[in-house]
């Protein structure tokens, strides 16, 4: 028997709302629903009772296919490749205000240091109150070099200095912290674009907040438009967040989610797997 539109309308409506209540952006949930509709309608099944199971299987496949994008990024491979080329790898962290960039940089610094790499952090948020001091504390605790300027200095210049320092000292990685910014602020987005042009980073890492809802889509899309996002890290997953932003971010940018921030400690970074999210939604 063939599945009809009527057979799946209600269950797909429910699914769409389920995704939305998991903080998947409305446009992403709708697009997934359309894909499912296309796949399911006309599909042959043994009997109508099979339909719920078939829908679930299709949903899993649809979610996995979004979360396993074409682009594959491995942090350590990127660092190794730069090493082979005899230069430090430059990783630039970007995102909106308060998303967890600075804290995430500290975690990534520890991750890399534990793997034996030498790390330099660039305090290129020269705008916000005590942004530099916040990194100073992290750098001291972690035992990594911090290259900073003064509050108000040109961020790209500070970051560039850090890269030059890393080059001259033979350091493996430079982690560039940038100021949080509203993607609606054209001047700030242009400033970020300029920084990318100056640094030519190996990776632009978008740091998103798992507590965010639909705004995650616009954030990812706009940052991708201005600087190009290579991969993403989603923070505050431990704060009872649904995490639907992983789907929203990857769907609109094709950038894979590398890690999840699961707390405020230096070890609170865990590798993201697509199964993790699929389980949360279907489990």
């Amino acid at each position: 028997v063939m599945i009809t539109r009527e057979d799946v309308k209600d269950v797909l409506d429910e699914l769409e709302l389920e995704l939305i209540s998991n903080d998947v952006a409305v446009e992403v949930a709708e697009s997934i629903r359309e894909e499912l509709e296309q796949e399911l309608i006309g599909k042959k099944v043994k009997g109508k009772s099979e339909i719920p199971k078939v829908v679930e299987r299709s949903l899993r496949r649809a979610l996995l296919s979004v979360l396993e994008p074409e682009k594959e990024v491995d942090l350590f491979e990127v660092v190794e490749k730069a090493r082979e080329e005899g230069r430090p790898a430059v990783l630039m962290f970007v995102g909106v205000n308060g998303s967890g960039k600075t804290t995430t940089i500290a975690k990534v610094a520890k991750l890399l240091k534990d793997r034996g790499y030498s790390v330099v952090i660039a305090a290129a948020d020269t705008f916000r109150a005590a942004a530099i001091e916040q990194l100073e504390e992290h750098a001291e605790r972690l035992g990594v070099t911090l290259i900073k300027g003064e509050k108000g200095d040109d961020p790209a210049a500070v970051a560039f200095n850090a890269v030059q320092h890393a080059e001259s000292k033979g350091k493996d990685v430079v982690l560039v912290d940038t100021a949080g910014r509203a993607y609606t602020d054209v001047n700030l987005m242009e400033e970020l674009k300029k920084m990318k042009r100056v640094l030519e980073p190996d990776l632009v890492i978008f740091v998103g907040d798992a507590l965010a809802g639909n705004d995650a889509v616009e954030q990812a899309r706009t940052f991708d438009e201005y600087v190009g996002i290579d991969c993403a890290i989603l923070t505050k997953v431990d704060a009872d967040a649904k995490g639907g932003a992983v789907l929203s971010i990857t769907k609109v940018t094709g950038a894979p989610i590398l890690y999840l921030g699961v707390g405020q400690g230096y070890d609170d970074l865990k590798r993201f797997t697509p199964e993790w999210f699929v389980e949360r939604v279907t489990g």
Binding site: I20, D23, G213, D215, D240
Partner: protein
């Protein structure tokens, strides 16, 4: 935006004597989508839809009011009602008191520390002598951040070299209550799953007896806003909400659930990173923006 979509839909029914059911359902679907895109809680959207649909089918527009305007008005009214009505509630700061204590609480990175300084400036402009207290012993350079903002705003600030947040708050109030008539306490970010941090907040409120406990909520927060707000409210009764980052494109629908679940009205909105970027809440313009 929704306004245009509703207009074009309702143009179809201009001639109709009563608003027909099929069209109401179409309009409600459009409203649902707009609200979900604005991060309003799914259940709240479904409840609201039922109420709007019911009113749209049962009520007759008053003579001379076009159907389009009446449908829109129902949606606006229901949303403003949810926010506590058209009147914005004032901050409970009384100049005749020895000292007014305000506590800012909320999730990580919402804008509490920045808002503390903004609120200080707002109150200074109204003739209050405002002091700032750092009660965040966890975040690296939290005290330094508040110090720099306090300097910018010209307010006395108290920080304490301890890892005990309650002690920071208590000693801060002690230190500033003679020279200030309002004291704003900035607390560390926390979430409803961090039991000891929630306990800490309870203990802090018991000791400093705040007149205002304001939940600082980021307009980008999605479907979990209501749950978190409720948890904060259970720990320490909230007297208000400050919705931040409305200068971005985020609609702030999460604030609707926060208000609906706690009864705490939105008192201010944050509209940027500068210390002047704080405005009194206006329910009607918030709803207009929510509906796009």
């Amino acid at each position: 935006g929704l306004g245009d979509r509703l207009s074009s839909l309702v143009d179809k029914i201009k001639g109709a004597p009563v608003i027909d059911e099929k069209l109401v359902k179409e309009v409600v679907r459009d409203v649902q989508r707009a609200l979900l895109e604005a991060d309003v809680d799914v259940q709240l959207v479904l409840d609201l839809s039922k109420r709007i649909e019911k009113r749209a089918l049962e009520e007759e527009p008053p003579a001379g009011v076009p159907k389009r305007d009446y449908l829109l008005r129902i949606v606006y009214e229901e949303l403003v009602e949810l926010l506590g009505g058209e009147e914005t509630e004032e901050l409970d700061v009384d100049p005749s008191r020895d000292v007014n204590v305000i506590m800012l609480v909320g999730l990580y990175g919402m804008g509490k520390t920045t808002t503390a300084a903004k609120l200080a400036r707002y109150l200074q402009r109204r003739g209050f002598k405002v002091g700032l207290v750092c009660a965040d012993p966890y975040r690296p350079a939290a005290d330094e951040q508040l110090r720099q903002l306090a300097e910018e705003v010209g307010a006395p600030v108290h920080t304490e070299d301890t890892d005990d947040a309650v002690e920071m708050a208590v000693k801060g109030v002690e230190a500033l209550k003679d020279e200030c008539d309002v004291i704003i306490i900035d607390t560390a970010g926390r979430d409803r799953l961090s039991e000891d941090l929630i306990e800490e907040l309870k203990e802090m409120a018991e000791k400093v007896e705040p007149h205002e406990v304001l939940l600082v909520l980021d307009a980008t927060v999605g479907q979990k806003a209501g749950d978190h707000a409720e948890a904060f409210h259970e720990a320490v009764p909230l007297t208000g909400v400050i919705l931040t980052k409305l200068d971005t494109a985020a609609k702030g629908g999460g604030a609707l659930s926060a208000v609906a679940r706690t009864g705490a009205p939105i008192k201010f909105i944050g509209t940027g990173e500068r210390l002047d970027d704080l405005e009194e809440f206006n329910p009607k313009s918030f709803v207009a923006r929510l509906l796009g």
